[in-house]
């Protein structure tokens, strides 16, 4: 089987699957269970001044009967004394020396305080630090978490203080609650971070109870915004990872986080530039055991493609991302429906008719049935029909040779201004 081990900025782990700093990494007991299950590394639940949590804390978003397509939480950092956490970190590291243990840290923006915390924690034998500049609820009101992470200069400054004192690699965890993730990633790089991890959770309100009109989750009749995560946030996270990966001013390794639940999700993040991936919601939903298929699936995937090391896929798709202005306006795809596979649910028809370009015809057949046929002259190749079709490989998108040379909007504008000039 392919070698799944990775080395991210000097932090080594036998596979790229880490647990994110979150409830599953709250204690030595949990982390040992996770390592027994096969996780390659953990980011220990954020250490700092122990806090007092509220109940309730979590809420799930169900989509068409699927539980926890999204999740939000208002839990804060560790509520356990630092000494307890450090003692457990030492024990776990002794028992699992080959796994990565990264300590997530949160501290007030003070050089002295950061130095004190870093010194204490690295004595416990952690393999790295992850700075929590992302927590969007509670801690940010106290000037920490995303209060730092939303200001690139503060990221750079706080990171630099930590790097001064740290003898192990420093990862900066970024918040997505900003306008352009690249500015924050650049701040981390400028501060001397050895890697970045993203994304932290997204500001969210999961819902309102229809019977009581109570926003969810409720704490004694009131609610507050929480941090959103789970499968629903994956595309947001993947894009932000891609943006950082292709930014020439970032250029440090990435640990991908956000909705990762399967080996397939992991492959996508790695292709988009992540060296490791961090998981939380999927474990909160199903337990540590999910890593077994993640390891197995990734190994089989690499073997099937003749790739000997997981590192061989890192960043391989980054160069395929560009800005819209560079996309070829002359490229043409059309949909084609495989009549043998079609089950006649008409979902493609109604989607195209009501929401796209009215280019699927329901053609009456002599036997009384109807056949769904794409009007290829009208089809704009938008993918919608293929997306709504419930049958695998029934609707395919075919390339059409337009006979025209590639031309992007940018080139077209340039040509037009050239002509005008």
């Amino acid at each position: 089987m392919a070698d799944l081990s990775v080395n991210m900025a000097g932090i080594k782990s036998p596979n790229p699957f880490w647990l994110a700093s979150a409830p599953p990494t709250n204690s030595g007991y949990q982390v040992m269970r996770a390592f027994d299950a096969g996780w390659g590394g953990v980011v220990w639940k954020t250490l700092g001044d122990p806090i007092v949590n509220v109940t309730s804390r979590f809420a799930g978003l169900d989509v068409n009967g699927v539980r926890m397509a999204g999740m939000n939480n208002i839990e804060l950092i560790t509520d356990r004394p630092l000494e307890d956490n450090l003692r457990e970190i030492r024990e776990v590291k002794k028992r699992f020396p080959d796994r990565a243990i990264v300590a997530s840290l949160m501290e007030e923006p003070s050089r002295a305080k950061w130095h004190a915390l870093v010194e204490k924690v690295q004595d416990a034998g952690v393999d790295g630090f992850e700075l929590n500049f992302g927590c969007p609820h509670g801690m940010s009101e106290r000037g920490m978490g995303s209060a730092v992470g939303q200001v690139p200069e503060l990221i750079a400054q706080n990171t630099a203080w930590v790097v001064e004192a740290a003898r192990v690699p420093v990862i900066v965890k970024l918040t997505p609650n900003i306008t352009d993730i690249r500015f924050c990633a650049r701040g981390a790089a400028q501060g001397g971070a050895h890697a970045i991890s993203l994304i932290n959770t997204i500001n969210s309100l999961i819902g309102v109870d229809l019977d009581t009109w109570q926003p969810i989750p409720q704490v004694d009749g009131m609610s507050t915004h929480g941090g959103y995560c789970g499968p629903a946030v994956k595309p947001i996270a993947l894009n932000m990872v891609a943006e950082c990966a292709r930014d020439p001013e970032v250029r440090i390794p990435i640990s991908g986080i956000g909705g990762i639940a399967t080996w397939q999700d992991a492959v996508e993040f790695m292709l988009m530039g992540a060296t490791t991936v961090q998981v939380c919601t999927a474990v909160m939903h199903h337990g540590f055991r999910i890593v077994e298929d993640m390891i197995d699936g990734l190994g089989n995937y690499l073997d099937a493609r003749g790739i000997s090391s997981a590192t061989g896929i890192i960043g391989r798709s980054v160069k395929l991302m560009t800005t819209w202005e560079n996309l070829n306006l002359e490229y043409k795809l059309i949909a084609r429906i495989d009549q043998d596979k079609c089950i006649h649910c008409n979902k493609c028809w109604v989607a195209c008719e009501d929401a796209a370009h009215q280019c699927i015809d329901r053609v009456a057949q002599s036997d009384g049935s109807t056949k769904l046929v794409v009007d290829e002259g009208e089809c704009v190749g938008c993918n919608l029909c293929a997306m709504v079709c419930p049958v695998p490989e029934c609707i395919s998108m075919l390339e059409v040779d337009t006979g025209k040379p590639a031309q992007s909007w940018k080139q077209r504008q340039a040509a037009a201004s050239g002509t005008a000039g």
Partner: protein
């Protein structure tokens, strides 16, 4: 051993219903809807279950099919909606019947009012028979604002749903709730009134602007063999009615013989079994392929422990001291199909045999109400009332729906067809009244 009132339909949990509702693809112009004779918008009612809009779901079902709760239990769904489900070929079809039962049960349990009568038109319609077709027509006509009077010979509404379908398949609670949904719209009910006997056809024609014949069929005809007068020879529908309405039937004895192979025969067989008869056997003069009962009914009867004997025609019923003690059968042979028509099977001389029987139940179809048809002066062919596409009979202002227009064919008449015919009749009458009165 299951009892007479132990439903064959298991309780549905919110968990399984939710999972099943969410599995539905929500097809557009869905084949299940087309396969339903009443064209229930199946995808829409399932979507409403998924969004916890159970009142809306029940209304979607019942607006298309006033017998939607009964049909959820008695429809041959594998031949209709579920058979047409796009999942039927490659995966398990959506359990449409179960979902329909869940939504209509919710409406029944919560006592919600799903429909309102239309504003009064001042027109009045008489409906002869308060079974599925009559109730369906009544519901539609009331929603259109016409006054409706139902004349029902029995004491309760619902027709065969109330009296003729075994309680473990369709309880009277469901049938009567459905009837009550219609009655609640302000329908005048004359139960215990047999049109043609207690009130003349001409009286109806004189007092109402239109008459709907929805009188169904009559008793099970005699077999036409010696010994039918013996104690212990029963009409299947009488037998089921007594069992369903009173919970008790005369002692059936050890051996029950049922003659016939339709759904009523199956009901008589399984009912006998649940009443404790030891050996219950169906005898049919044709072959297994010819049986008119739905495949799922046949399967159910097998599971209940019923036995089947094909190609046996009864010759005479044997009695001891005035009571049934046996039946003599003769073996038969299939006849070649003659131009599409089924020919009676031929007896094989010398193949006679006698079986022990303590009860003989005849379930060979139902007689037709030709006297009533004649009193109304409507044309009928083979005792089937002749109607046009709008279900109007040869006599103006007289319409017919349900089993009384059901031509003997390969399958049994369905409740869902009767419900649809009730809707068609209502539309036709409404249109005519509109034309006549503007």
């Amino acid at each position: 051993m299951s009892g007479l009132n132990d439903s064959i339909h298991k309780h549905l949990t919110r968990l399984e219903v939710s999972a099943e509702a969410n599995r539905c693809l929500f097809c557009y112009d869905a084949p299940c809807m087309h396969a339903c004779p009443t064209h229930i918008d199946v995808a829409a009612f399932i979507k409403k279950i998924a969004t916890d809009n159970l009142k809306g779901s029940a209304r979607t079902i019942m607006s298309a099919n006033p017998m939607g709760a009964s049909c959820a239990r008695v429809c041959p769904t594998e031949n209709l909606c579920e058979g047409a489900c796009v999942y039927a070929k490659d995966a398990a079809p959506i359990r449409i019947g179960d979902l329909q039962r869940y939504a209509t049960d919710w409406a029944r349990d919560h006592n919600v009012k799903l429909f309102q009568p239309g504003s009064p038109t001042g027109r009045s319609v008489a409906i002869v028979g308060g079974g599925p077709a009559g109730l369906s027509a009544a519901r539609e006509l009331r929603c259109m604002g016409h006054a409706v009077t139902i004349f029902e010979a029995k004491n309760e509404l619902g027709g065969l749903n109330t009296y003729g379908i075994v309680p473990f398949r369709l309880s009277t609670d469901v049938a009567l709730w459905e009837a009550q949904q219609v009655v609640g719209l302000g329908v005048e009910i004359k139960t215990g009134v047999a049109v043609g006997k207690d009130i003349a056809a001409d009286d109806l024609l004189a007092n109402f602007e239109a008459v709907v014949l929805a009188c169904g069929m009559g008793a099970v005809p005699k077999l036409g063999i010696p010994g039918e007068e013996l104690d212990g020879v029963l009409d299947a529908l009488d037998f089921i009615e007594t069992a369903k309405m009173t919970g008790a039937v005369r002692e059936l004895g050890k051996n029950v013989v049922v003659i016939g192979a339709g759904n009523t025969a199956i009901d008589a067989l399984t009912c006998s079994k649940r009443l404790g008869a030891e050996r219950v056997t169906m005898y049919y003069r044709r072959s297994e392929d010819d049986m008119t009962a739905y495949p799922f009914e046949y399967e159910f009867a097998k599971q209940e422990g019923v036995e089947f004997r094909w190609l046996c025609a009864p010759k005479r019923i044997i009695g001891t001291n005035g009571a049934v003690s046996g039946v003599e059968f003769v073996r038969t042979q299939r006849q070649a199909v003659d131009g599409g028509a089924r020919r009676p099977p031929a007896s094989l001389p010398g193949s006679e045999f006698v079986v022990a029987a303590d009860t003989v139940i005849r379930a060979i179809g139902q007689s037709r109400r030709t006297e009533l048809f004649d009193q109304f002066g409507v044309k009928h062919d083979g005792a089937v009332v002749q109607v046009d596409e709008h279900l109007e009979t040869s006599r103006p202002r007289v319409y017919a729906a349900g089993d009384c227009i059901f031509a003997k064919g390969s399958r049994e008449a369905m409740v869902v067809e009767a419900a649809e015919q009730g809707k068609i009749v209502a539309r036709a009458i409404d249109r005519k009244l509109e034309q006549r009165h503007g």
